[in-house]
Structure formats: structure tokens, C-alpha cells
Symmetry: C2
Subunit: 394 residues, 2 copies
């Protein structure tokens, strides 16, 4: 008597994963260097040497029982202190260790944030285009994720649709800026307008509405872009962070929940996360990774390749007459397909060994995502295939 809902989910394969599998299989035929694989958002730049050095230092010098021992439930206190100090310094918000819950990447952080503020049946709104994993992440908690349709002109927030969808069951708004898949960074104006609407609605509905701010791409912001700190503009913000992208450590499962000290209920939330974690089986990120990351908190991998790739691809797409909004960060770009059906468009691109992901599962049909966390040399080589594709098919 296996639980049917999970069994049913098995057959619904992720489009991104299917395309990545296609790319891998095709790579075996013609050499992976000849497959222009823009499917997966895997960081491509090396981990900072300082992280590796710190891991080695810990392994060589710390007593093994201390190093590999149980972390306290909310995370190692000194690590939480270091995270709080770094956030305070950067964003001028008075975070303390008590506001930080160490989590196994952004997925772990989000799993706890959702459970903090929603009961089964409550609604969480998010904005298309959005990371498709938000669907199972939220819906498996018993809360209900509703998608606000995109503003396809700018990929900022479509406020008309948002206001139409707000209702007293909405307990949280989930945002992701810099955004996967659009690459867009929500401007200060956007966040301020969002905050103003939520402040009004909190009064009207008589309950808090939290912003759950998923920020794994926070450090990947391009030159001159206005990238406000959400927590600084709205008190009821729960920040969910991951070091996966900034330090190129996605496999080591390390991130945190940072509760805005001005949040309603801030004094309870980290201890509540500890309780939640007993049900999710979470029990902290790995001890050695917590300790090593805390020494390199303010470093990043060399992220400049992403901006270099973006500039090249953006110019190429414009030259080929694509409609495309210039990304402000991340390693994604989200152009309009050259026909209405982006699935058909991406299917045709496969003939040219171009792996592009249709926007349908991101809540934006007609668009497609390119993840350009690949070598610049390969980006440049892909343009020949892209040009051939466009010329021959459209």
C-alpha cells in the first residue's frame, strides 16, 4: 500500500531533466563538446581555493569527534553568528545568530519557511516565470501554490494580476530575484510597490503576509543593475539562501533561513524551524561544510564568466531579431521563441544540437530558457548552430 500521490509523481518527468539526459546521450554519439547544452543550471566555475584550503585545515587539525559531531539543531552557533554579522554588515539589518537557521541549501530553507507560515489549504503566490520545483516544494506541504501570470514585457511583477489574485487565504508571497529562469532582478520600485500592497492587505485581512525571498542567485548580479535587498524593504521577509551558486557548492547542501529581526514573530521562528525539522528529517547541514563555509562567507567563486556569457548571448540574440529582456543577473536568459509553441521551437533546435528549455513549465509559454553556466568558448561555438537553426527553420 504505497502512497499513491508519490507513485503518481514518478511518471511526470521534469522537462529540464529529460533534455539534460538527451544532451548526455547525444554527447556520447558526437562528443559532448559538440552538444550546445543550455539545459541545466549547474555552476561551472571552480570552487574558491580558500574553501578547499579550509576543508583541508579542518581535516588536518580538528579532533574528529568535534569536527564531525552533531551540530546543534539550528546550526553551529559560531557559524550562525558569522552569517548574521556578514548580513548585518552588507545590508545594514541588525541580524543576530538567533535569526539564522542553517539549512541544507535553498530547498531545505524553503521547506522550513513554507511550514513556518502556512497551514494546509493556505495559499502562497509566486510570479511567473518561476522555478518549476516550487510546485512540489509547496504543494507537498499541504499549502497551495498559485502562479501570478508574467509581465512578459519586463519580467518584473505583473501587479494587476497579482492584486486580482490576492485574497485572505494568501499567507505568503514567494519571490526569486535574481530570477530563474528570466535572469531579471526585481528593481527597488518593484519591491517597494510589492511591499506597499502587502502592507495594505495585511491590514485589510488582519493577518501577516510574509515574503519568502529565495535568493540563491543574490551574488550573481551584473554591472550597474539595481538589486535591492528585499528584507530591507519589507519587514515580514524570510530570506532563504544557498551557497550553491555563489561558491559553486550545490552538492554540499548548505544555506540558511535568515529571519528579518523586524518580522512578526521573529523571536520564535528559528526555534520553530528546529521543530519543523523534526518532521522533515532535516537535522542540519553537514558540520564540516558549515565550518568551512563560515570562513569564506564573503567570498564568491569567480562569477565573471556568467556576465561575459550573458553579454555575448544577448547581443547574438538581438542580432538574430529575438525578443529578449536583458538579464540583470543569474546565469539564465529567457528569450521569446520564434514561433508560438516554444516546445516545437526547442524540439527543432535539437536537430542543431542546441539544448534549449521551453518556458511552459516556468509558467511562461512561448519563451525558452538558456542556462549559460558553460564555457565561453562553447557559447561562442554555439552561435554557428544557432544561426543555422534560425536561418533554416524560420
Amino acid at each position: 500500500m504505497l502512497v499513491q500521490k508519490y507513485k503518481d509523481m514518478i511518471s511526470a518527468k521534469s522537462v529540464i531533466r529529460q533534455l539534460a539526459e538527451f544532451a548526455a546521450a547525444r554527447g556520447k554519439e558526437i562528443g559532448y563538446e559538440n552538444v550546445f547544452d543550455y539545459s541545466l543550471g549547474n555552476p561551472s566555475v571552480p570552487v574558491p581555493q580558500e574553501f578547499t584550503d579550509e576543508m583541508m585545515r579542518l581535516l588536518q587539525n580538528e579532533p574528529t569527534n568535534k569536527l564531525h559531531g552533531y551540530s546543534p539543531n539550528p546550526g553551529i552557533y559560531s557559524v550562525r553568528e558569522t552569517v548574521a554579522e556578514s548580513l548585518k554588515r552588507r545590508f545594514d539589518i541588525p541580524y543576530k545568530a538567533e535569526h539564522i537557521f542553517m539549512a541544507t541549501g535553498a530547498a531545505g530553507a524553503l521547506a522550513h519557511a513554507f511550514r513556518l507560515v502556512t497551514e494546509p489549504g493556505d495559499e502562497i503566490l509566486t510570479f511567473a516565470p518561476f522555478f518549476p520545483e516550487y510546485n512540489p516544494y509547496v504543494n507537498l506541504t499541504g499549502a497551495v501554490l498559485k502562479i501570478v501570470p508574467p509581465d512578459t514585457g519586463s519580467f518584473q511583477i505583473n501587479f494587476d494580476e497579482f492584486e486580482r489574485m490576492l485574497n485572505p487565504k494568501v499567507m505568503a508571497v514567494l519571490i526569486n530575484t535574481p530570477n530563474n529562469p528570466s535572469g531579471i532582478v526585481y528593481s527597488t520600485d518593484t519591491i517597494k510597490k510589492l511591499a506597499a500592497i502587502l502592507c495594505d492587505k495585511q491590514k485589510e485581512y488582519g493577518h501577516d503576509i510574509y515574503i519568502i525571498s529565495d535568493e540563491p542567485y543574490r551574488e550573481i548580479v551584473f554591472d550597474g543593475v539595481d538589486a535591492p535587498c528585499v528584507s530591507a524593504l519589507y519587514d515580514n521577509t524570510i530570506m532563504c539562501y544557498s551557497f550553491s551558486k555563489s561558491l559553486s557548492l550545490p552538492g554540499e547542501r548548505i544555506g540558511y533561513v535568515a529571519v528579518n529581526p523586524k518580522c512578526s514573530g521573529a523571536e520564535y521562528m528559528v526555534n520553530m524551524c528546529v521543530q519543523i525539522s523534526r518532521g522533515t528529517g532535516h537535522n542540519c547541514p553537514p558540520s564540516i561544510i558549515q565550518l568551512a563555509v563560515s570562513k569564506v562567507l564573503d567570498l564568491t567563486a569567480d562569477l565573471s564568466v556568467y556576465e561575459r556569457n550573458m553579454n555575448l548571448i544577448y547581443d547574438e540574440l538581438k542580432a538574430l531579431d529575438f525578443t529578449v529582456v536583458r538579464p540583470g543577473g543569474t546565469f539564465y536568459i529567457f528569450p521569446k521563441a520564434l514561433e508560438e509553441d516554444a516546445k516545437a521551437f526547442c524540439e527543432k533546435a535539437l536537430k542543431y544540437d542546441l539544448i534549449l528549455v521551453p518556458g511552459d513549465s516556468f509558467g511562461a509559454p512561448g519563451f525558452f530558457r538558456m542556462a549559460y553556466c558553460i564555457d565561453t568558448e562553447k557559447v561562442e561555438r554555439s552561435f554557428y548552430a544557432l544561426e543555422k537553426f534560425v536561418r533554416e527553420e524560420y
Copy 2:
């Protein structure tokens, strides 16, 4: 509007944690070496050097993006293969990689196992004395944990009570052998009898009843003890394992779910765990730890100190006329208190700087737990305090 059930849980402090905090505070007053702290089940023996060497080798030799990259959702395939081969060799059960889901320790493994086979409202039975965290682990999934009262003569299973409590809502039976807190290992007879009853009841109720076998203490079994492999004696067994105790790595969060190949639905279960993990925010144990552990799978830390300590404590308790069942494994012993109220007994022991945990929260009032994962020298020194305590108070 924080979720009340988690907020309410904050104030219900774990007795074990309170005692550990008392021990730490008292240690600051009189020196921790003078506090006979039997409260916490933290492995005290060093991590095998081979693990540390393998971590260093990986850090020195592997490209960082490969080493720290995303693990596939069920775990790294080669690691799952190695785990399956090791289990097959040891227990003569035809495990394959497809039956292994890498998990963040036993807590992570259990969180997935519970969700595999229970819907909200379904029952899971477990046997006192039991690990008190099972309560939130199960109840926060929406299933209901029911506790079968102990057989205090042997701490094997109380089958009369068990059969009384079985009913069609029971979808799983959760067992923990070697057992925390009793230190008892369920005998082959016990497991066979349990299996026979469950086989009958499966037919009677017309649905599967799974054994969820929580086995973090599997490698800590003492000389000559009959310690059967549960999966070999009951087809519908979901094994939950952690390397926390065998390799002294509790902070690194590494373990697995091993689905018996003969399980009803075995072909779906690991893929279902992958789906479940999207809701729990689990997303795999850390990549580097998976890789390093896979190279030292069949090693253990030097666990002999636990048996040495057990023998010393058992003899001392018998000499002092305690009623106590000799442990077959783990690093726990669970004697009867010298008065009916074990809380009062443990409270009095504190005056002698003996930190003992009352059995009430383990479902066995009147008993107390000693976690003897401490230095043998300290165990020996504690006997003076224990003798003084017994002489003066009883």
C-alpha cells in the same frame, strides 16, 4: 500568523537536552571531567583515519565542480552501487543500486520511509522503550505513532500488547534493534514471531504492513549476541541506516534507505523517495561525504570501548543490586531505578554529579538510561559517585 503547532512545540524541551545542558553548566563549575555525564548518545570514538584520508584525497585530486556538484536525487549512483554490494555480501539479500536511496542520516531516512507507506491518519506502531524523537518524526507527517508497552523483563517485544493494538489502520511497524535506550538486540525468535504475526495480519487486513527498521546501532553488537538481519526475515522491510554511530560521523548527515528487493512495491520505492524529498527539502546528503563514506563502507570506528564500558557498568549495577537486562549492543543500558519514580531517582543522582536520564519519555517509567559512550576511565571514576548515591539515598 505563525503556525501554532510548531510554536507550541518550542516550550516542550527534551529531557535529554535539559540534562545535557545541566551537565555542561555543572562542568563549568567543577570541571567537566568531574561530571559523570551519561545523558547524550554522542559517539566518543575517533573517526577512522581512512575516512579522513579519503576526504583529503578527494579534496586534493578531484575537480571541484565534479566533487561538489549536484548529486542525482537518489544519491550518487556509484555510491548506491557500493552500498548495495556491501549489503548483499553481508546479508545475502540481492540488493541493487536501485534499492538504495541515500539519506541525510537515519532521521532523513525515516522521514522518507514514513511517507512512503502512510497517509495522514494511518497508524505506525513502535515498541517501548523507544527513541522519543519518533513521536515528532511520525506525528508531524500526519500519521499517528502508537506505543506498544514494554516487556520489562527482557525488553524484547511484548507480543500480547502488540496483538491487542494491531488494527487495519496500522500500515507500518517501526523497530529499532539494537535498541536505544535498552541496549537490547531483538533475537531471531523475536523477529520471526513478529514477521509471522504481520504476515497473518497482512492477509487478514488485505494490505501490506511494512517493518521500518531503524538500524543506526547495527554495527555495535557485543560478543556472542544473536543479531539477525530484519530484512532477511521479513520481505516487507524498509531498512533505515545511518553511519553516525559506525563511523562516528553524526554531524555529517549520511545514511540510506535500503528497500528489500522482495518488498511489495520495491520497484517504485526509491523513485518515490525522490518525489517525497521534493516536499521535505531533503535533496541528498552532501556529495563529498557520500563519496568518502563509499570508500570506507565496511570499516567502523574502534567500537570496542562500548563493550568494555558495558561490561564494567553491568557488573557494577549488579553488584549494587540493580535490576538490569544485559545489553547486546549500542552504548546504552537501561536499569530499573531504585524507587518507583525514575524522575525523582535521576533528580537525586544529580547531587552526586551523575547525569542519568529517566525512562518516562522512552515509554518505560521506572527505568533510567545511561549512555556510556564516554571514556572508560571516567566510567570507572563514576562508580565511586554511584556507590555513594545508592548508599546515602536508598
